[in-house]
Amino acid sequence: MERDDLIVNDNYSLNATHSEEAGVKIRKNIIYVTVLLTAITAVEVAMGIIFKRAETYTWEAIKWTFVALTLVKAGYIVMSFMHLSEEKSVLKKSILMPYILFIIYLFYILATEGFGHLFNHNSLH
């Protein structure tokens, strides 16, 4: 049966193939990313065990370190494992832009509404 949903003339990911030699290189990169992700997770857990939360200022810095490390991990998963880095830039943008907007929105709502409970005891509690 001939399929009419495939556009054979275009340059598709469908036709994405690579040779044995290229495969060796790709697998090497996969191993590299795996080791990196595992190492970052190990560092995070070690930090959680070593640093105590009682020291407020240190913990604040550690929290942001966790967030940064998480974004590094997420970046490697999306760009390398999900191959987003190899996609067209228009696809990349339409996938990533919603998150950039979402994060800006979250910061906005945190800055304007996030501390409401501290000042408004009558209506909230």
Binding site: D5, L6, I7, N9, D10, N11, Y12, S13, L14, N15, A16, T17, H18, S19, E20, G23, I26, R27, I30, V33, T34, L37, T38, T41, A42, E44, V45, G48, I49, K52, R53, A54, K63, F66, V67, L69, T70, K73, A74, I77, V78, S80, F81, M82, H83, E86, E87, K88, V90, L91, S94, I95, P98, Y99, F102, L106, G114, H117, L124, H125
Partner: protein, 326 residues
């Protein structure tokens, strides 16, 4: 590997249809857009968790105090189990990306082998999560709330004045019998022999547990063990309010039920994604095994389920940080 922009194409041809602006097939594009929306759902859940936590007036439990048990071991291993789950998921993500790579070489045996490894990894993760849920639901011995103010000395020698309503935590052994006692089980008798408080459960086999020590601040900063006469004083100041483990109505970990509810919903929703991912992986595994993709000439379906499977790993990375670590 993927498409390139079409330079030197006349606009008539460009707008004449039959082209893919993203350079990918519709199936892969819809998988990406589904993942975009699904990620916003998880983003909303984690944001709601953060806001609830920030708005909470009583202290919120911290990950390394709540999640520090390992199956079959006694000691305390903060977050090691969760880190292990993270590692399992990362490894199964790797086997999936190897399956995709094998697909690009039209290597059927490779695809089948790595898909199978991915399925096994997913099942290991689900099993780990089942244990974690079971542990969370059963709890660490339970707690009771104080009915009056008590001043005790912790193991570090510091005095603590505990207000009315402060949760006090029992050890596993004592808590087990205390659950029957608190629920009005007439087989469980409280004995107080010269300050030695004991719970005895009569039945086919008689069990008894003596109150050796109680714990304060168990799931927050500054956990302290209180023993001897101070422990007895805490027990005597107990209210009727006992909590054992966690369910949809009460939990021993936090004063707020939303803590347990967020745990169940966020990890449960993620676990459901893992479960459906495993089911889809099994289907793709059998399709690859039967040679469906070989006949089709390409292994793009493996790539599509691969995207979903990596997304599950991606979500877990965020859950790990925002629910367990911070």
């Amino acid at each position: 590997m993927s498409g390139h922009s079409n330079d030197n194409v006349s606009s008539k041809e460009l707008w004449g249809g039959g082209r893919s602006p993203y350079g990918i097939s519709y199936g892969k594009m819809y998988m990406w857009f589904f993942l975009v929306s699904d990620a916003l759902t998880f983003g909303g859940l984690l944001s709601a968790y953060g806001f609830s936590r920030a708005a909470s007036e009583s202290q919120w439990p911290i990950g390394e105090q709540v999640f520090r048990a390992l199956p079959g071991l006694d000691g305390q291993y903060p977050l090691i189990y969760v880190a292990l789950m993270t590692f399992i998921l990362i490894v199964s993500s790797v086997t999936m990306v190897l399956a995709v790579e094998a697909g690009h070489r039209n290597d059927k045996r490779g695809v089948v082998r790595w898909m199978l490894a991915t399925i096994v990894g997913g099942m290991f993760f689900l099993g780990s999560q089942a244990w974690e849920w079971s542990h969370f639901i059963h709890g660490g011995g339970g707690s009771f709330l104080l009915a009056k103010e008590v001043t005790v000395t912790g193991e570090n020698g510091t005095q603590y004045t505990l207000p009315v309503g402060e949760p006090i935590f029992m050890d596993h052994h004592f808590g087990e019998l205390a659950e029957g006692y608190a629920n009005g089980d007439s087989n469980v008798i409280l004995e107080n022999d010269h300050g030695h408080i004991k719970l005895v459960q009569f039945g086919e086999h008689t069990h008894e547990a003596e109150l050796h020590s109680l714990t304060i601040n168990k799931y927050i900063i500054g956990e302290q063990e209180v023993s001897g006469a101070d422990a007895s004083a805490l027990w005597d100041a107990r209210s009727e309010s006992f909590k054992f483990g966690a369910n949809m109505h009460e939990n021993e970990y936090a004063m707020q039920q939303s803590y347990a509810n967020f745990f169940f919903f966020i990890t449960g929703f993620h676990g459901f994604h893992v479960f459906s991912g495993v089911v889809i992986n099994i289907i793709i595994f059998f399709m690859a095994l039967k040679g469906v993709f070989e006949k089709r000439g390409h292994y793009e379906m493996v790539e599509k389920v691969g995207l979903y499977w990596h997304f599950i790993d991606l979500v877990w990375v965020f859950v790990f940080t925002f629910f367990y670590l911070i």
